[in-house]
């Protein structure tokens, strides 16, 4: 409910700003919103179904099991490879990180895994980014972001060395 109220307040604030705007932007704003709704709502609805089916095919524990108790450079590489295929939001992912940590996975591997899940996670890409921003933007961003997880893992390795 909180997020709904937050979004509604944000929308109302912007509408009020548009209404009070010297250029009378209320109608243009409504037109632009209508365009966006008509174009994006059907795509997002379908994308959501697709993401759900894919999540069922690739459940969280199957993926996270692959990381197991790995650490060091090997852990970073495995985490990089599997992070993007991890479905679900933070409610599912953080308990998994805790479990992996207890199973002995190293901090650099876990940081890599979280980074990969955050920037490459397939469900968010399918559900929001692709429908709303278009395929080219997604490809561009994924290429740019694909190198980030190991960078974060290696920085964590170095930080650990300094820390201890």
């Amino acid at each position: 409910m909180g997020s709904l109220i937050f979004m509604a307040l944000m929308a109302l604030t912007l509408m009020a700003l548009a209404w009070r705007h010297p250029k009378k932007l209320l109608t243009p704003g409504l037109n632009a919103s209508f365009e966006l709704i008509m174009q994006n709502a059907p795509r997002v609805a379908l994308a959501l179904l697709a993401a759900g089916f894919l999540g069922q095919i690739l459940p969280q524990d199957t993926i996270s099991h692959l990381l197991g108790g790995e650490s060091g450079m090997r852990g970073i590489l495995i985490a990089w490879a599997i992070g993007g295929f991890t479905p679900g939001g933070p409610i599912i992912t953080f308990p998994v990180i805790v479990a992996l940590s207890k199973a002995g996975a190293g901090t650099p591997a876990l940081v890599t895994y979280l980074t990969a899940w955050s920037v490459l996670g397939f469900q968010r890409v399918i559900m929001f980014e692709w429908p709303m921003m278009g395929r080219r933007f997604v490809i561009n961003r994924l290429i740019a972001a694909s190198c980030l997880p190991p960078i974060s893992g290696i920085i964590t390795l170095l930080l650990e060395k300094i820390w201890n």
């Binding site: 379908l46 894919l54 953080f94 980074t115 920037v119 921003m133 980030l148 960078i151 893992g153 964590t156």
Partner: protein, 216 residues
Amino acid sequence: MAKEPRHKSGSLLSRMFDRTFWMFVGMTVIAAAGCWWLKGYDALIEAFHDDLELLVYISPRILLAMLVAGFAQVLLPRDKVAHWVGEQSGWRGLVIATVAGALTPGGPIASFPFVVALYMAGADRGALVAYLTSWALLGFQRVMVWEIPLMGMDFAVMRSLANLPLPLIAGYIARMLPGLPARTDTPEEEGRLEEAVKEASEEQAATLNGEGERRG
């Protein structure tokens, strides 16, 4: 800048059910078939049920998000957006986007409307990638709600430090990658690109400045 909403080409229906829409139909059908084939009928129904629940949850939020995006789009001053986070904004634009991303609360439904609006208002691809990366990696809300309670302060600090430079790296790479300005998958989006190109050459060629040019 009171402008008409962009991409006005073709009828509303043809814009709704464009190529991208049918690509999503195809993807959904393939994903459903794969789910049935690999996991069985029960798993398919279970996934469908969960999806419908999520759809009920998300629908009103998406509508509000699109209102936010639509109004942000007409309210955002294009010249200022171009100045601060446009193609010529350099590292400053990437830094601004990174800070904004880290400060944006909430999940994807709350942040994507602004990305869409900024995109429409002329923000550069690199800056948007930096913004999304920063929001995904440095967002303070996730650190507070999930990371510190579950993984502890040390882990949260170390992960945040390790992630600090990443939005700038991603934004820089995204800007360097070749290709057209994005969002040109579908005809109406090409119409928008055409307008953007037109706007860029406004200063040089007054003849291209007309409003009547439309794509069929």
